[in-house]
Symmetry: C2
DNA sequence: TCTAGATTGTTATGATCTATAACAGTAATG
DNA sequence: CATTACTGTTATAGATCATAACAATCTAGA
């Protein structure tokens, strides 16, 4: 960095003002989400998990026997895109596709012991990540943030 | 819909519990952001604008003469990816690439009258969209949400 | 029961988005 | 003046996502 950045935006002629965008909830949501997702991806990378793969594993452990279509709905992704995610989890021995006696089309997804182990480790890593990310937040503020986010999403659920 | 959805998740054997994920700020951020962005895209589509193109136009109108590198930084995207966005805005007559007398490498991006017009229309549409999206929120709650989002993002700025 | 329609998982595919590397032209620095 | 850095650009590859189509299977109505 050869050219020093000026500290005060009011005296810096090169400063780009984005107040119009920053007054929009949608823009702040986008920017904040991008940063947090990128950060979270780095947290899960050492475990060999992507964000969506982690989420799928969590739901399979918490809902042993769930089918792929319902899992895709819960994750808000397309069935077709879930296939490779489940393939990945299965090939790594974290879950199994087991047959459903009453419906030969469907698979019941169940975690293996290794899957439950990975679940615990990944969740610890993510919790630690969130604690670091939100270290200047009160617990009540985090609760407020999550609550507000859910309320934005809720009417469309 | 041939199979009726049960109302109470506690009595619905097919319900997928996602409470573990829903306790994570990052997951709620991701889900909420996805929904809002998709919705916002629909709002801007009739104007022929994508979310990122809209954001670029706003910054160019609010910062007439800004250069592409600074604009890319402000938008948190790569310079190379901004090129096509600026191309699009220019080809539609909303902005102009004008020469910078003191630096023949750089372009100063300035809005045209049509660009300022589009800015006003698009901003109205987005404001209306946000009002509808957040119609069950108090103004103070929206302010709180935006403030919390900025604070999550801030330490990394 | 039989048949038409719906559902499940899957594959293939195209659109979009993003990051990276490399380049020519130009500016800044010592 | 020579080296280094910066600007906009192009090309490219990876990731993400939605859509369409398919075979196998189930469901529901005649």
């Amino acid at each position: 960095m050869t050219r020093a950045a000026k500290a005060d935006p009011h005296t810096d002629p090169d400063h780009v003002s984005d107040h119009t965008l920053r007054d929009l909830a949608g823009y702040n949501l986008r920017r904040t989400s991008q940063i947090v997702q990128a950060d979270l991806a780095k947290t899960l990378e050492p475990l060999g998990l992507r964000m969506i793969t982690f989420a799928a594993l969590v739901l399979i452990v918490d809902n042993a026997g769930v089918r792929q279509t319902r899992l895709a709905n819960a994750l808000a992704i397309e069935r077709s895109n879930l296939v490779l995610i489940v393939d990945d989890l299965e090939q790594r021995g974290l879950i199994q596709r087991t047959q459903v006696p009453t419906d030969r089309r469907a698979y019941a997804l169940v975690p293996t012991d290794a899957g439950r182990d990975m679940y615990a480790r990944a969740l610890n890593a993510v919790h630690a990540h969130e604690a670091a990310l939100l270290n200047n937040f009160e617990a009540s503020e985090i609760a407020t943030l999550i609550s507000l986010l859910k309320r934005v999403e809720a009417p469309r659920a």
